[in-house]
């Protein structure tokens, strides 16, 4: 019971941290998805140079740990005179991350569109533009939705890494509170519950979507 009362006391500070976490996740998704779509097109482009560039951006974004990219933006780039606020660096790093992951999911989604759809569009004489934007993309994006929601959850959890570059997000708030009275067990449990309170329902919604779409496929 005492835990609950103490948690109530911590909550205001935790909530502002949670707000920062949600903001960073929101920004990285908002910019990451469109960039991901662009990357997925680059990766499937005919032009070798475009394809190689796209592939490199995707593979680094997925292959290197988010923490490393975070450090690269925050500690690495300032040495070239490009300095960011810690929160900006976090947004940039996670945007790269989410763009790379979502590009793979979108590419798979676009490729899952039945070949017949392309053939029908061609046979009808639709332009390449119309074929892509009106026929292929709406279908491909639809099947990518659960995966993209997964990326969003992953990004939200990923914001916890921004702690490492002193962004005042949820994890950092928890750490600050904890270092005042060394009640680490309590405070990190509360932090974990905060993350879970958002991630778990989001996962359930994703699974629900996935099941519904499997039924209608």
């Amino acid at each position: 019971m005492t835990w609950l009362t103490e948690w109530a006391g911590y909550l205001p500070q935790m909530m502002s941290g949670l707000g920062a976490s949600l903001l960073i996740a929101g920004i990285s998704i908002f910019f990451g998805y469109p960039l991901g779509l662009a990357l997925s097109l680059m990766v499937t482009a005919k032009n070798l140079a475009v394809r190689t560039l796209g592939l490199a951006v995707v593979e680094i974004g997925r292959g290197a740990p988010a923490l490393v990219i975070l450090y690269l933006f925050y500690y690495g780039l300032p040495k070239f005179g490009i300095a960011f606020e810690s929160i900006t660096a976090a947004c940039l790093a996670l945007t790269w991350n989410s763009a790379a992951y979502s590009s793979e999911i979108m590419r798979a989604g676009l490729q899952s569109v039945a070949r017949g759809q392309l053939e029908a569009s061609n046979a009808l004489g639709l332009s390449q533009r119309d074929t892509f934007f009106r026929v292929i993309m709406p279908q491909g994006m639809r099947s990518a939705i659960p995966g993209l929601m997964g990326v969003a959850i992953q990004m939200f959890q990923g914001t916890s890494l921004a702690y490492a570059i002193a962004v005042p997000e949820l994890m950092k708030s928890a750490y600050n509170i904890g270092s005042q009275d060394f009640n680490y067990l309590q405070i990190f449990t509360l932090a974990g519950l905060c993350y879970a309170a958002i991630s778990m329902p989001a996962t359930w919604i994703t699974v629900f979507f996935e099941k519904r779409m499997a039924r209608h496929a």
Binding site: A114, G116, A120, L124, G125, R134, P138, H216
Partner: protein, 272 residues
């Protein structure tokens, strides 16, 4: 069955464009079409001339190249060599084809697929109207009016707002036929239009195709429906081993095939 066709011809042809005008009928000349994938030959120097307003049925064992040949006509498959003449256009697919020629070809030639290939994210009406707006530049009102007219003719007016997923296979295929007709094609290609359907459901699709044939639409039909091939087609073309081995009057070929390979195939499909 055959005399039924005359009663089928009702007041308004299925392929009417507007005010009783009918889309111009085109013939098609395909000469020396060849295609291979790597070492594997799919079409070996195939030629076929189709007169305007006639129905050609393409039959033969699977793997004979029927579908590939049909898909070469509107360049869904790119032949390695040969010439295609449709209306006033001559296309040599072995060389570079300008996008203008390609667009003109595909506007003249409508196609119906075995797996319907309706756009699942659009309603039946939208499936038919959307290409009209984009390809022919019709206004939404014009396009919708034409679509509704065609949906009524294929007996699916009440399905206009439904998505393809809510329609049976036979209904989807009739919508697909309406979608192709809406672009006022001079020639219609059918790639095994009833193969994915239950036999009974296939009948409703065949009925629409019979009506279209009676209108005088130029049609090339890849099919396993021997009854349809015999009753409706003007020319029967038998393909085997990447070639056309026999062509002519359907009744004559079916009752008295000249080639041993044709005989073997017909025996297999007719005497089961």
């Amino acid at each position: 069955m055959f005399h039924l066709l005359t009663t089928w011809k009702i007041t308004m042809p299925l392929s009417e464009i507007a005010d009783g005008r009918i889309a111009p009928r085109f013939g098609i000349k395909l000469d020396n079409i060849s295609k291979h994938y790597g070492d594997h030959v799919v079409l070996d120097d195939v030629s076929l001339h189709v007169q305007p307003g006639t129905v050609t049925a393409l039959i033969g064992p699977s793997g004979a190249g029927k579908s590939t040949f049909l898909r070469c006509i509107n360049l869904l498959e790119r032949p390695d060599s040969g010439t295609i003449q449709v209306a006033q256009h001559t296309i040599e697919p072995g060389k570079d084809v300008s996008s203008r020629d390609l667009a003109a070809l595909r506007r003249t030639v409508g196609m119906v697929f075995q797996s319907f290939n309706l756009f699942p994210h659009m309603s039946a009406l939208k499936n038919i109207s959307f290409p009209q707006q984009k390809v022919l530049g019709r206004s939404k009102e014009e396009a919708d009016e034409r679509s509704m007219q065609l949906l009524e003719r294929v007996g699916l007016k009440e399905k206009a707002s439904q998505h393809p997923g809510r329609c049976s296979g036979g209904q989807q295929q009739r919508i697909a036929i309406a979608r192709a007709l809406a672009l006022d094609p001079g020639i219609m290609l059918f790639d095994e239009p009833t193969s994915a359907l239950d036999p009974e459901v296939g009948l409703e699709v065949l009925a629409v195709m019979r009506e279209l044939a009676a209108d005088g639409m130029t049609m090339i039909v890849v099919t396993h429906e021997m009854q349809f091939a015999r009753d409706v087609s003007d020319t029967l073309v038998v393909m085997a081993d990447c070639k056309i081995i026999e062509q002519g009057d359907p009744r004559a070929i079916m009752s008295d095939p000249q080639e041993a390979r044709t005989r073997r195939f017909l025996r297999a499909v007719l005497e089961r």
